[in-house]
């Protein structure tokens, strides 16, 4: 193990009351099989998965339910054996609260596995293994849900360093911490596997200093491994953000619009690495994850649950809500969003659900005007100018907001946290971002429409010309004599026909 001491501190960030210990006193729990599992077809970044089962079909645990559609997409597998009973729009965990297409599976209680197909990664090549991972349905389990197979390609052998994101900087969330405590062996094996797949040389595990148990366990395991090192970073939110953590650990700043791979660095979350390990070694696709249920519940805990498990089941198992709390937040208190209701399924993105009192969701203190104190700029880990971005966003000056690098904002919420005027800054940035994205989309559609219209006009013109050409050719080919002959014949035929009809009419009468 090599010890790298230097930590490169990023700008700003905040120290929060992390409240992590409330959910770490018990081991990861499993709950009894739910009555039904609801699997949204969109659980990842990219294109919606393509449905591969029929209504009433019996499926086995781990069977493909929907396959990845194109490269940027992820498959969905049956979390248990049972029957597919419906494919319809249902409430999903999405900030809009709008329903989306989901597959409902009624478990048969037998939990029968389909034939598992572990990947012999030592025998088949890297590319072959990555191809298999494409069908595993594994996405980034830190919450970003980006299909993992895309991040494993290392075509030009440019990636040298694997950064393992174990920071888990958001308050309340402890699922990665508990995973590292209980599955540390799998994690380290998984890191070795990913190192092999990437063809990278060394791995750095970046972990915040508020997880001493996990650090201890991992340190013991990597003691003799010279390729894997552990780097403990101070607990400052948002050290778990990809670019922030890479800077903390390596001092490399990723420029605007670039990817970390171009700097020889690739990052995976610990839970994703364990999922990859399970898929390769045991042949188990992505069907479950660890999730923290915390906040105002009687027994906050971490659960290993199947995807599609109704969140309400978990809340009941966690002892139910303590006081009359208003809402549930998915993700952490800094970046999470309010769930439409508790009747949503657990998805690949759901790392934590906090039962929150109104103090966390609503802005109880009055929102006052911006006094341009620039505390937000001091706190911004991306070194943006949040006060300017706020000004442009709230006045719909999107172009200017973009010029001030609005899209580099990671929506970490540090600015809103420190704002003495209680302005919900991130809400403005989200609004401005989605307006700009909507505008870009409209522009793309307009460009397609223009192209199609141009082509249609071109086609009509061409048809017209072709017709004119044909007529001219016919004219040229048939001399006037022949033409009059043809016309005479036609006329004769018409008069004959008319006479015949007349005669018939007369005879009928």
């Amino acid at each position: 193990m090599s010890i790298v001491d230097k930590i490169f501190k990023f700008n700003g960030g905040i120290k929060t009351d992390t409240r992590k210990t409330v959910s770490t006193s018990h081991p990861i729990k499993k709950i009894s099989m739910p009555k039904k599992l609801i699997l949204p077809l969109r659980q990842h970044v990219g294109r919606v998965a393509k449905l591969k089962v029929n209504l009433g079909e019996k499926v086995l645990k781990g069977q493909l339910i929907a396959e990845a559609d194109g490269n940027v997409s992820a498959a969905i597998h049956a979390p248990t054996s049972g029957i597919i009973v419906s494919v319809e729009k249902q409430s999903i965990p999405h900030p809009s609260g709008l329903p989306d297409y989901c597959v409902t599976l009624i478990p048969d209680g037998k939990d029968t596995w389909i034939k598992k197909d572990p990947v012999n990664w030592k025998k088949i090549g890297r590319e072959e293994t990555i191809k298999k991972i494409y069908s595993s349905g594994i996405v980034g389990l830190g919450g970003a849900t980006f299909p993992s197979h895309l991040k494993l390609h290392n075509n030009n052998n440019e990636i040298k360093t694997l950064v393992v994101n174990a920071a888990e900087c958001e308050p309340y969330i402890t699922c990665d911490d508990m995973l590292m405590r209980e599955k540390s062996v799998d994690l380290i094996e998984g890191i070795r596997l990913v190192l092999h797949l990437l063809g990278a040389e060394n791995a750095i595990i970046g972990i915040e200093d508020n997880k001493p148990e996990a650090i201890e366990k991992l340190t013991v395991l990597v003691k003799k491994d010279e390729h894997i090192s552990i780097k403990v970073v101070p607990t400052i939110y948002p050290s778990g953000d990809a670019k922030r953590l890479i800077y903390l650990l390596t001092g490399t700043q990723i420029a605007k619009g670039k990817r970390s791979a171009e700097y020889g660095i690739q990052m995976f979350n610990v839970a994703t690495i364990v999922a990859l390990y399970n898929f390769i070694n045991l042949g188990e696709p992505s069907i479950s994850r660890i999730i923290t249920i915390t906040g105002n519940v009687t027994a906050p805990n971490n659960y290993e649950v199947l995807f599609g498990t109704p969140l309400s089941d978990l809340i009941v198992d966690a002892g139910g809500v303590i006081k009359k709390s208003s809402s549930f937040i998915m993700g952490g208190p800094m970046m999470g969003f309010k769930l439409p209701s508790v009747n949503v399924p657990v998805t690949k993105a759901m790392n934590c659900v906090i039962n929150a009192g109104s103090e966390m969701v609503e802005n109880n203190s009055p929102v006052l005007p911006c006094i341009r104190c620039a505390r937000c700029a001091d706190a911004c880990p991306v070194t943006l100018q949040p006060q300017e971005l706020f000004w442009f966003s709230q006045s719909n000056q999107f172009e200017k907001a973009e010029n001030y690098n609005l899209f580099d904002c990671i929506e970490c919420g540090c600015c809103s946290y420190v704002c003495p005027s209680n302005i919900p800054l991130v809400q403005y940035y989200r609004y401005a971002k989605s307006e700009i994205i909507g505008e870009r989309h409209a522009k793309e559609e307009a460009d397609i429409a223009r192209e199609r219209n141009d082509f249609r006009l071109h086609r009509l013109q061409r048809e017209k010309e072709e017709r004119a050409k044909k007529v001219a050719e016919r004219k040229a080919n048939t001399s006037s004599d022949e033409k009059s002959k043809v016309i005479d014949e036609k006329r004769k035929a018409i008069t004959e026909a008319l006479e015949r009809i007349k005669n018939e009419e007369v005879s009928e009468k």
């Binding site: 999405h94 009055p366 809400q427």
Partner: protein, 188 residues
């Protein structure tokens, strides 16, 4: 005297040849202002502006024949952008040309459709699929919502359906606060 005349003549010759060369070499095809106007127009190709498409309208604006406020699908925003581009005063949308409606797409009632192909011929962006005496259908992604297929349909089987918000096209809303609530909290 003679030298100065020669120098001036010489300079004129050089500058003239540079200008002549660049006028051939860097010749701009088409009128860039038309393309700039066209890129602001929404490309619905609906003809509500009284021109047979967005490009002809853009050409008319560039020539000064048409006003900038004749495009209902572009809406107020579109007029504002055109005004900014052309350096003219903003004007409210001319209601003679229609009102801005939420974006919708055409939907064919396929059980009523008789397969006459009239709508296919009317569609400015070839977004209708079908053949004579066969059912027609709209390619949702390509439909601009121009409504030009509605009048030719002999059996009135095309409806305009406003686009619904879904998880893909949903946008974060402008933050709103209830002022009443806030006031109560401010006053002790």
């Amino acid at each position: 005297m003679l030298t100065s005349v020669l120098i001036v003549l010489f300079l004129a010759l050089i500058i003239g040849s540079i200008l002549g060369f660049s006028s051939i070499k860097f010749k701009v095809e088409g009128d860039p202002i038309i393309d700039k106007i066209d890129s602001i127009l929404p490309q619905t190709q609906c003809g509500q502006c009284s021109y047979p498409g967005c490009k002809p309208y853009a050409t008319a604006i560039a020539k000064g024949e048409a006003d900038i406020n004749q495009c209902p699908p572009g809406g107020d925003d579109g007029v504002r952008r055109l005004a900014e581009l052309l350096g003219v005063e903003y004007k409210p949308l001319n209601e003679e040309h229609g009102n801005t409606k939420p974006k919708s797409i055409a939907v064919i009632d396929e059980s009523t459709c008789i397969g006459c192909t009239l709508c296919i011929q009317a569609c400015p962006v070839d977004a209708i699929l079908g053949a004579a005496k066969h059912m027609h259908t709209i390619i949702e992604k390509e439909c601009t919502g121009c409504e030009l297929c509605l009048p030719p349909c002999p059996v009135d089987c095309i409806d305009m359906v406003a686009l619904q918000e879904n998880t893909e096209n949903w946008k974060w809303k402008y933050p709103v606060f209830s002022i009443k609530n806030q006031k109560q909290r401010v006053s002790p």
